[in-house]
């Protein structure tokens, strides 16, 4: 069966690949959106912390013999702790300044983290095996579905939904949303907003690290793996609308799929299609698809 002369299995496998990439975009842009919402900081270090999550998973296996599932838990916790230190020691001094300073500071943090790991491990990839329980593929009739990729999509959707629920439906989420609008008044209600900001940053970068561990068996673990992704993720956040959670998730998944389709239909455009969409969205809706004008 052919659609526009494209064999269906090829189309479906690219769609799946797109969905997997989209899952990473969604998780990363979600963390960026949450951080931007409350801290007003454009966290350029997000890609580096995603990479750090993956490298920590690799280190856990290499040096301590800790397997995938253990590191899927430990690596985000470790990166959250690093994030909390970054926030407490550096970020909190620049909240009152222009966005540009946050961007520059986190870019600097990125260069330090990437530089350190680069000098320790070089830039060639570090191999990370697919966990045994998820190796192999399932025949779903029209194609062979690799189990690990299915898990990546499911896990990321689960995390995105849980985060959305936490922020939109719980009391803690109400504090976060209110803090995004007017932190001073929330503080005047007796809520420890500075602590909330610190924990939010920790949570946002933990999401990036979680995505990093998920990515380790799919994308080669390397100190540069975050760089390639972060630029697309920024485009996703801009398209979805800065600070919009639903926008980040929906746009992340959607753009992953569009990218996958582009690979089948017109491969030359696959790496630029996201940016073309960004340009159009910025022209038509400068605040992003689901963002609010400030």
């Amino acid at each position: 069966m052919n659609l526009f002369e494209i064999p269906l299995p090829a189309l479906l496998s690219q769609l799946l690949l797109g969905l997997v990439n989209g899952a990473f975009y969604a998780m990363l842009s979600l963390g960026l959106a949450v951080i931007f919402g409350l801290l007003n900081v454009i966290n350029f270090a997000h890609g580096a912390l995603f990479m750090l999550g993956a490298v920590l998973a690799w280190m856990g296996l290499e040096y301590l013999g800790l397997g995938y599932w253990t590191m899927l838990l430990l690596s985000p916790v470790a990166v959250a702790v690093i994030g909390i230190l970054i926030e407490k020691i550096m970020l909190r001094w620049i909240y009152k300044l222009d966005h540009l300073y946050g961007l520059l500071l986190t870019l600097g943090i990125t260069l330090v983290i990437e530089g350190l790991l680069r000098s320790a491990y070089g830039v060639s990839g570090l191999p990370y095996p697919t966990p045994e329980s998820l190796s192999g593929a399932t025949d779903v009739g029209f194609m062979m579905l690799p189990n690990y990729r299915a898990w990546v999509v499911a896990a990321s959707l689960g995390i995105c939904f849980a985060t959305w629920y936490l922020i939109e439906k719980t009391r803690l989420g109400a504090y976060l949303r209110a803090g995004t609008e007017n932190a001073k008044i929330v503080e005047s209600f007796g809520i420890n907003v500075p602590l909330m900001i610190t924990l939010t940053y920790g949570f946002g970068v933990a999401l990036a690290a979680f995505a990093g561990v998920l990515a380790a068996p799919v994308i080669q673990v390397s100190p540069l793996m975050g760089q390639n992704l972060i630029i697309v993720v920024f485009a996703v956040v801009v398209i979805g609308g800065m600070g919009s959670i639903l926008g980040a998730v929906a746009t992340g998944l959607g753009l992953g799929v569009i990218e996958g389709l582009a690979k089948v239909v017109y491969p030359e455009a696959s790496s630029t299609v996201v940016f073309a969409i960004m340009v159009i969205v910025l022209l038509v809706r400068p605040a992003g698809l689901l963002g609010k004008e400030k």
Partner: protein, 239 residues
Amino acid sequence: MSTNNTPALEIKGLQAWYGESHILHGIDLTVNRGEVVTLLGRNGAGRTTTLRAIMGLTGARKGSIKVNGNETIGLPTHKIAHYGIGYCPEERAIFSSLSCEENLLLPPQLKGTDSGMSEAEIYDMFPNLKERRQSQGTRLSGGEQQMLAVARILRTGANLLLLDEISEGLAPVIVQALARMIRMLKEKGYTVVMVEQNFRFAAPLADRFYVMEHGSIVERFDASELQAKMPVLHELLGV
């Protein structure tokens, strides 16, 4: 700690700054429990800044602010609130991404108090808010937003209420409803510090008055002296 004789609020020599600008130049102000005190003055006299300084929302502060007997001058805002202050800012600060009910339930119960009003009591007092429970915060009318801004600090158990220009920009019928509300709060034993532009609204409600000018307190008197002070007020405020 606090006893019944401790003032709800005792301010001595309070100075406050916004960045480089020195706004408050040594305020002395005492509010006893159960009193309604009004800060009068022209725009820019420093009344709003006084309330914000009590909450720790200005820049640097000096002097002493005791809330229910506890010194709060060096504390961050969220800790000051825990000593039992509810603050209703001039801009109302209703959160647009939260529903009316979420706005109402947002401020947490303060530790060690169970004296806050229940949700049902609040809805009895403000039936409009009950009807508009599910509406987005900013879809409410100006009067409803003002009621919500006051209502949400009544639930927490805070006993000292700082109300900044609550009658501003509202229709007369709503201003009357707010006046009834203040009387009801006084009966319930709340201590209230109001900043008011609307002298006719504030005059019959307050037990005592402070008049501010250029970041200092220039007059203080009891409600019983109000008539005698009218010429002075006329000169200071143009009322």
